[in-house]
Symmetry: C2
Subunit: 259 residues, 2 copies
Amino acid sequence: MKSFLILTIVLSLILVSSNFAAEHGAYFDYEGYTGPGYWSQLDVKYRMCGVGQKQSPINFHTNIDYASVSPYVYMQNVNYVRMENNGHTIELSSPQWQNSFINFDSTNYYFKQVHFHTPSEHRINGIHMDLEAHFVFEDPNTKRKAVVGVLYYIDPLGTNSNFIDPIITWAPRTKGNATYNVFVDIASVFSLVREAGPNWAYRYSGSLTTPPCHESVTWWVATKQLPISATQLVFNLRVYMGFNSRPTQSRNGRTVPGY
Amino acid sequence: MKSFLILTIVLSLILVSSNFAAEHGAYFDYEGYTGPGYWSQLDVKYRMCGVGQKQSPINFHTNIDYASVSPYVYMQNVNYVRMENNGHTIELSSPQWQNSFINFDSTNYYFKQVHFHTPSEHRINGIHMDLEAHFVFEDPNTKRKAVVGVLYYIDPLGTNSNFIDPIITWAPRTKGNATYNVFVDIASVFSLVREAGPNWAYRYSGSLTTPPCHESVTWWVATKQLPISATQLVFNLRVYMGFNSRPTQSRNGRTVPGY
Ligand SMILES: [Zn+2]
Ligand SMILES: [Zn+2]
């Protein structure tokens, strides 16, 4: 009976993963043989996850890394979202966001979606935070991406994040489902992290932190971390997505132990 | 100037690590080239970290894994401890604990030390907790180990863990330092997790979760998770030790995706 149960689970996961693979690339997750250490072997398209030289996430050392002059931010009407539980994370997107962008190096990168990782993927001085939000932008001409990473810590005062609140209420608990037309205050997150000043983020050249790990990403990781309540994180957000944080990667060309 | 700073840091880290290597094995940590994916290449003694078939930690699936009849626990005088910050974790030990033990399979395993990982190393249904305490026991005849793992979650009510409280107060903030003769109520943790009943823990045969990753460990991971406050964890314990959690490993002989 127990073997039968296991077999059934294996078969159904294989069916799910082969359907998924046909469209998007091989099934991956954060455990064992399908976890981060094996991503590059799961699909030829995932090769960069293993051989890349500018992979993300990384650990910042505040005695070496300094915040750079950060992007100009223009976010409008980034409110009514589609919330999808895609099996890896909760992702918020909307076709109405085509006019919202960040600008740096004389280029506009337009907002595509925001999603989450628990615990944080980037670390600061070797210390992780409880949640990381990735705001993904794209240059429509080059298809190069810019991702703004915002780290959240569980606040002892129990302060709820207003940005996270509607996600807790409306995000689908089960994989493959979506909720539509939910109001979320995305611009508020940018207001908060920009309180750090014009140099509000660490900049580096990196990759997607999930397969196919393409190295076409300019990262901007906010220096200011934001509070979230234990109720929002421990009993809600991380239960929906589970552990979905890639280990920190070595930096290209640098050999500082600890990176 | 910046290159010079980096060079100085590299040199001093190499000095530290070669001193350390002579005595204990090569330097390791949780980042980049010295992180978990590279442990087996750092020192010939660490080979098992790469080729082992029963490595820890793992992810438990509560539809497949059941708690087993768990050890008899006899903990006395496990109070006055030496607290060491060894660079990887905070470790509590005392020579007076030689009479405290757990018993299973007709064998006594005597208490040696307890230390911590953030976030938790074991996961349950793919979900991590905020902290994991490892209570390490040893059979003096065979030198085989038994480790009791207790997972803690940040409690929205802000409940302080009485066990953790004196650690926050007395644990050395800097690596290589120790504090002596601190009162800690270790037995109370066992009282709490045993409230789950006679089958209070998942049992499996695994390894040390740090180099040399020896596979001589019987694991007992408590099914009951315990509360810790955000102040204790976010602003204290994880700042002292940073991210020190090995990724979950594949199970020996099992090929269930997701393990
Ligand atoms: Zn991401
Ligand atoms: Zn441990």
